[in-house]
Symmetry: C2
Amino acid sequence: MPPRRQRILGFLQEFYLENGIPPTVRDIQKACDISSTSVVDYNLDKLEQAGYINRRPDVARGIKILDQDGQPVSNAPRVQIVGAIAAGIPIPAWSTEASESSQEFDTVEVAPELQRQHGTLFALRVKGTSMIDALIDDGDVVIIKPSNTVNNGETVVAWLKEEEETTLKKFYAEGSQVRLQPANSTMDPIYCAADNVEVRGKVVSVIRQLGKNL
Amino acid sequence: MPPRRQRILGFLQEFYLENGIPPTVRDIQKACDISSTSVVDYNLDKLEQAGYINRRPDVARGIKILDQDGQPVSNAPRVQIVGAIAAGIPIPAWSTEASESSQEFDTVEVAPELQRQHGTLFALRVKGTSMIDALIDDGDVVIIKPSNTVNNGETVVAWLKEEEETTLKKFYAEGSQVRLQPANSTMDPIYCAADNVEVRGKVVSVIRQLGKNL
DNA sequence: CTGTTTTCAGAACATTTGTTTCTTATGTAA
DNA sequence: TTACATAAGAAACAAATGTTCTGAAAACAG
C-alpha cells in the first residue's frame, strides 16, 4: 500500500475516534497534505476496493471504517493487548509513550469512563489458571493502568523478583513487608519483603468472554 | 420535555448507533414526521441548551449526543443491566422483545462481536460473593444471552427451584440428573434433578471494574 | 526507450445540508 | 380578552461537501 494511502487510512481511524464522525474529503486533504480533493477521492476508492472502508455515495461524511471481518468499527476507545501474563513469565515491556504501531496488537474495547478516569491504559491476556485466586481465569483480559505507586487495597500487577513470578493481588504495605492478598477470600495472603516486589500497574478492569474455547 | 423533542432525541441515539454517523436535519425531519427543517433546528437548539446534545456549527452531521456527565457517547453497542443477581433472589423478569424504556436502566458497553454473534443480550449485576466459585465477584456485571436450551459445558444462569437459589455454573446434562460445575477447579460440582433446574440464559461475558469501591 | 498503468493536480460542478427569515399557531398568565 | 413566550411551518439562502472532467507526472513492465 502506498504511504499516502496508509496515511489516509490512519487519519480516518484517528479522526473518527477523536470526533465521533468521519472526516470529509477536505479534512483528509488538509491533514494529509494533499493538493486536490480528487486525489483523496481516488485513494478512498482504492481503500474501498481493498475492503478497508465503505463509502456511502452522496452522503456527507459517509465513510465507514471496517475491521478485518468487514464489519464497521465503533468509535469506542480501545486499548492494546500488549502481551500475555502468567505466573513465571516476566511482564512484557511497555513503553509509556503512546505506541504507534497500531496494527501490531490485538485490542479490546473499554468503557469510555475508564479511559477518561485513568488515562492511558494497556491490557494483558492471562495465560493459565495461576491467577485463579484473584478471580481471574485462563483467557481473561486484564486492563491495566501503568503506575509505580499504588495505594493500599488496590489490585496490582506485581513481579516477585525472587520467585520470578508475575501475580495479580491486592496490595498492602505493612512496614518493610508487603502483604499480597488474593481477591478470593478462601485463599490465604502472601507476605514478602518490600524490595522483592516490583509494582507495574493497577488492574482497573477484567474482561472475560466465554464460549470461545468450547 | 415535549413529546416531539423526546422523539427527536430518541431518534438521534438510534440513528447514531445504527449508522455510526449522526443524522442530518432532514433525516430527523423525515423520521419524526416534521414538516420543516426549521422546526428540527429549533428543537435541536433546545436540546443543546438542555445539555442533551452538542452541535458543531457549519459542520455536516455535527451533532454529538451527550451522556449524563456531558460526555459524548460512542456508537458501541450497549446492553441494559436489567437487575441484580444473587444466590437466594429470583432472576429478574426479562421480556425477549426489545425493551423500549431506554433510559430506565443502566447500560454497559459490550464488544460489537458479542452482539453480532449472539443477538439480543442483557446484563445483570452480581450482588454478594455467592458466585465466587464461578470466578465472579461482588459487583461484577455478567452479560447474558437469553436461552432455554444450552449445550453441555456452557456456563448458564440457573434457578434451582427447591433451593430457591440463583447460580452461575457450567451445565452438564447427565441423564435425568444435571451436574453444575463451578468454573473454579478447586470447588466441587453440584448434582441435582433435571426438573429442579430452570435455565434462563448463557453467560457470554463477564466485566469487572475495580477501584470503584475503594 | 516505449507503452501502459497508477497516481496526482487543478478546477469546476452538483448535491447535500446547516442556517436564516418571515409567518402562523399554540399555550399560559395577568 | 390581551400580552407574551414557546412552538411549528414554509420557503429561500449559503456554506459544506461529494463528484467529475481533463490532463500531467510518476512508476513500471516490456
